[in-house]
Amino acid sequence: MSIKVFIPTPLRPYTDKKDTVEVNGNTISEVLQDLTSKYGDVRQHLYGENGDLRSYVNIYINDEDIRYLEKEKTPVKESDTVSIVPSIAGGVDVTTIEDEVQLSNEEVLRYSRHLIIPEVGLSGQKKLKAAKVLMIGAGGLGSPLGLYLAAAGVGKIGIVDFDVVDLTNLQRQVMHSTPDIGRPKLDSARETLNGINPNVEVETYEERLSSANALGLFGDYDVIVDGTDNFPTRYLVNDACVLLGKPNVYGSILRFDGQVSVFDAKRGPCYRCLYPAPPPPGLVPSCAEGGVLGVLPGIIGSLQALEVIKLILGEGEPLIGRLVLFDALKFKFRELKLRKNPECPICGDNPTIHELIDYEQFCGIAPHVTQPAEVVDGETEITVEQLKTRLDRGDDVFLLDVREPHEYEIVNIGAYLIPLSTLPKRIDELDPSKEIVVHCKSGGRSGRAADFLRRNGFKSVKNLVGGIDEWVEKIDPSLPRY
């Protein structure tokens, strides 16, 4: 059957300058075969090296693209016109990661269990090697995160932290070991990560993340992972990520509960869409105050590592627009859908935040945490040394402990126990005429208790600065610290 084929301008030099040629065939495939046998030079422009039609070569029967018919098997009739229509594409070279990154034989073997997964493969592993991930915090969440990112072969891992390894960290912060106590967490983290995988470049930043340095620090990285334990930093990480257009892999933990999400304002909601305003200071306890099961950051931090790796690979469905809540006691994962808030002050339709702000102030926290001993107010506060002197002198001081009974069980200094939450109900147990010294673990809860008592007519109430922690450290080191 003779079929008319329309030849586009650039191919006409190969068809004796004809814009239409007549060839034979009953299907597109036969028509093209006859065309390329008559005009051999056309072939290389229609077909790629693998023998398939080039991606930008479109074949139409009359007005229909054969992709939506039966492709090359589409039958043709005498009256049909077949058109060869190029779509024109081009653009700057995106030097692909495949070209730039190479894996050594050692790396191929090291990552072999990745390489044989089709979704990762060589190109995925090269993406991991080319990736730069910044971890905020080298603590509970940062530990499994760092370990798995290093093991997975993420090329560059940046860590921001300014803390020193403490004995209380080791129950969950598995990146650090007992001999590391007293060392900067960054030093211990770098050693551990390079011990796992010497191919990883570990860059450390021993500074407190702030509005002044966040944008500069984040700029070099592809993905930011939030492993912090406080609200000002969480809002700071979020805002800096939104302003820079970078994904923020979020995780948080308390006791038996954890949360994970991926905030990427370009593709979904941000942290502010979920929590427009921070909770009042003191309402949500930190892990130091409320405690955390050691395995929990292991689970949540690993989930963050998983999401980081998926983002780098571009595989699967990232946790964007979804918040996962994990209840370890019940062993329940719940997933909440998150929507982008059009009113969001930073990623909404009419953003009002265009630069980083003062996050301590935003979260209602005094900007500077000064050494308690230096600002002791004689009226409302007392130091452990002063208390010790007065007790030794035999002064009539009533000691009140507002911690929880299970904390009292760990260590106590013989004070009368009324947990803060029950204080309003049990206030009658106290004598308002007496001088009372209130303590808790480190001074936070007892400060609130002292305020409460003063408002209720107690004349002489003092808060023990630094709490029982300070007492154990400075007065009686024989007692356990927790």
Partner: protein, 166 residues
Amino acid sequence: MEANISLMEIVESKKQEMLSVIKIPKDAISQIEKHGERAYPEECCGIMLGRSDGNNQMVEEVVELDNEQGENRGRRFFVTPKQYLQMERIAVERKLDLLGFYHSHPDHPAVPSEFDRDHALPWFTYIVVSVSQGKARDISAWLLSDTRDRFDRKEFLVEEEVNSRQ
């Protein structure tokens, strides 16, 4: 003396034969540059219409197209088959040839990329304008080699428009 001149003439005419040349009016170039600057940081694209004579082409008109690339327009341009057919039709209506395509390289040199070559067609002239920080910097013209393995630079002859167009 005479022999020398004729030798020079022969060399010149040989050179003309070998070189493929595109003549383009100055205002057409500035239209391409301005299009690139307007589209920055995205890539712009469009076509050149004119007359051809062997390897030599004379641009008469530049038509701007919308970049139909769905995503990543900062690094890619795309002309749909529909747009393409329409351009072929316009060329026929105006009794002109579709000479080729131009596009911009935002913050990249005016040199065709591997991607360009892989997606290029023979015969068409490809004009690339580099736009750096929103300013058009450099412009060049290219032709795909017959073996498809490289782009050859095409001589650019800028014409002080008006006269040549009238």
